[in-house]
Amino acid sequence: MLLIECPWCGPRAESEYRCGGESPIVRPADPAATDDAAWADYLFYRDNAKGLSFERWHHRFGCGLWFNIARDTASHRILAIFGITDPRPVPEPGA
């Protein structure tokens, strides 16, 4: 069970949240000028990293707001929590 610290509500159980997948995923600025391969890359292709991963979470049964998490997908350790529009934090060495 993950204990996730919502930036607004504090530490809450995993079951209150929904994971919204990798973050950030940037929509191509001009879809009409984007070829099919680049569009597929935007829609479907993911880093799916083993280890440090950046993802957005939604506090569905709480404040209802979105935020970002840096998490290790192998150990499940949460390394950083940051705002939905904030840039990815640089991980500390050995984290």
Partner: protein
């Protein structure tokens, strides 16, 4: 190598069962192979077997990071079925089921395939309509399917809760569905492939790829470099990790899928039951254990263990179906890392690197596809052409948009 039979069992009995050969050799890796398979699970071993048996390519290495069948092949809930919706999926999965029907005899290894039937339920009027649609689709695709009303479902599954929280309006039965001994599938393919000359190399991690002008020429491993211009990759939940080492990404997200086993009971359940309302499904193994599963832990994970909310949800779903199991103890709980794609349809065939072939994207249902997945990948690796059964499962469908959206269509927990 000894052929397994009642006679060989009796004969070895006179020698105290001490005369058996190892089921496969502990092969020493060589510098060059005609074909290399990464991943010694069911799909990888089946690919090696069909390459050797059907296509006569016997200069093959299967490289397994851990031990044979120690990944998802040894972690699934052993259900075999072909109750899909679209023609492409139906054809492929039914072919795989058909191969399973003859597999014990073909491999000379008892995989204990028991066609005890598989049920999935409808819990409301809309569910009934979707269930009828599924039955009709399956029949149009030539797959066996039966529709039964609630009283017939209750009559055929003794002990099923007559008044569950999510009422059972109707059931879809696939009589040819069932379960098999999962370890035996890996061991049977390993033994049969080994007998055809395939080198099975365990504790051998592939750490990198040698790629020249976009074409694969070899792999780097913890047992040294091996050259080959034809490499297959069947590593399930770790497909993205392996793809990164080859320099490309995949449309895959890895999740943990949990399974649970209860203490052994006397025979209480002679079929496979799925309740879509909770996603819970169960069967009883020949040892008497209830084998139980349900949905994914819905966040990306490479940890082969599950989280407690899903365990609680699954237990609630189980007790809703069979209240008498409320005091049954769970003996073991674990998770496998599954490779989920957007349309719940596998990826079989070419990768962006020439000569490197993919067998992945099975999501939560790779076990039932082992014979078919191995057969079709072997065909592609040997001939350079996609097998007609797997032609629609190319990686390129994510670019062209020709997705086969079984996630929404087949009414099964994926």
């Amino acid at each position: 190598m000894t052929r397994y039979s009642a006679w060989s069992l009796v004969r070895a009995g006179f020698a105290g069962q001490r005369t058996w050969d190892p089921a496969w050799r502990d092969a020493a890796p060589r510098k060059r192979y005609q074909a290399i398979i990464i991943g010694g699970g069911g799909h990888g071993l089946a690919t090696a077997y069909y390459l050797a048996r059907t296509h006569g390519i016997r200069d093959i290495a299967v490289l397994e990071r851990g031990w044979i069948g120690g990944g998802n092949t040894g972690r699934n809930t052993t259900v075999i079925r072909s109750n899909y919706f679209y023609p492409e999926s139906s054809r492929f999965y039914d072919f795989s089921l058909t191969l399973y029907e003859g597999l014990s005899r073909e491999l000379n290894y008892n995989i204990m395939f028991s066609q005890r039937g598989m049920w999935s339920f409808a819990h409301d009027r809309h569910g009934v309509e979707m269930l009828r649609r599924s039955v009709n689709a399956m029949r149009l695709n030539g797959v066996d399917a039966e529709y039964h009303e609630a009283d017939e479902v209750q009559r055929r599954i003794p002990g099923l809760n007559p008044l569950p929280r999510f009422p059972i309006f109707a059931g879809l039965l696939q009589p040819r569905g069932g379960t098999a001994r999962h370890d035996a599938v890996a061991w049977g393919y390993a033994r049969a492939a080994d007998r055809l000359g395939v080198d099975i190399i365990q504790n051998c991690d592939v750490t990198g790829f040698d790629i020249r002008d976009g074409h694969i020429v070899g792999v780097q491993t913890t047992h040294g470099d091996m050259a080959s211009e034809c490499v297959g990759m069947a590593v399930a939940g770790h497909s993205s990790v392996m793809a990164e080492r080859a320099g490309f990404r995949l449309p895959i997200i890895s999740y943990a899928l949990q399974a649970f086993v209860s203490e052994p009971l006397k025979p209480v359940l002679d079929t496979v039951v799925l309740a879509p309302s909770t996603g819970t499904y169960l069967s009883q193994s020949d040892k008497g254990e209830l084998v139980i599963g349900s949905g994914l832990d819905l966040f990306p994970s490479y940890a082969q263990r599950g989280s407690l909310p899903v365990l609680e949800h699954t237990a609630a779903g189980l007790i809703d179906l069979f209240p008498q199991f409320s005091r049954v103890r769970l003996l073991r709980q674990w998770a496998g890392i599954v490779d989920v794609v957007a349309d719940s349809t596998p990826i079989l065939g070419e990768s962006p690197v020439k000569g490197l072939y993919l067998n992945c994207g099975w999501g939560t249902g790779g076990f039932k596809a082992i014979p078919g997945g191995g057969f079709c990948l072997a065909h592609h690796m040997a001939t350079g052409e996609a097998h007609p059964l797997a032609a629609a499962f190319s990686l390129d469908r994510f670019r062209t948009g020709a997705l086969i959206d079984e996630a929404a269509a087949s009414g099964i927990a994926h």
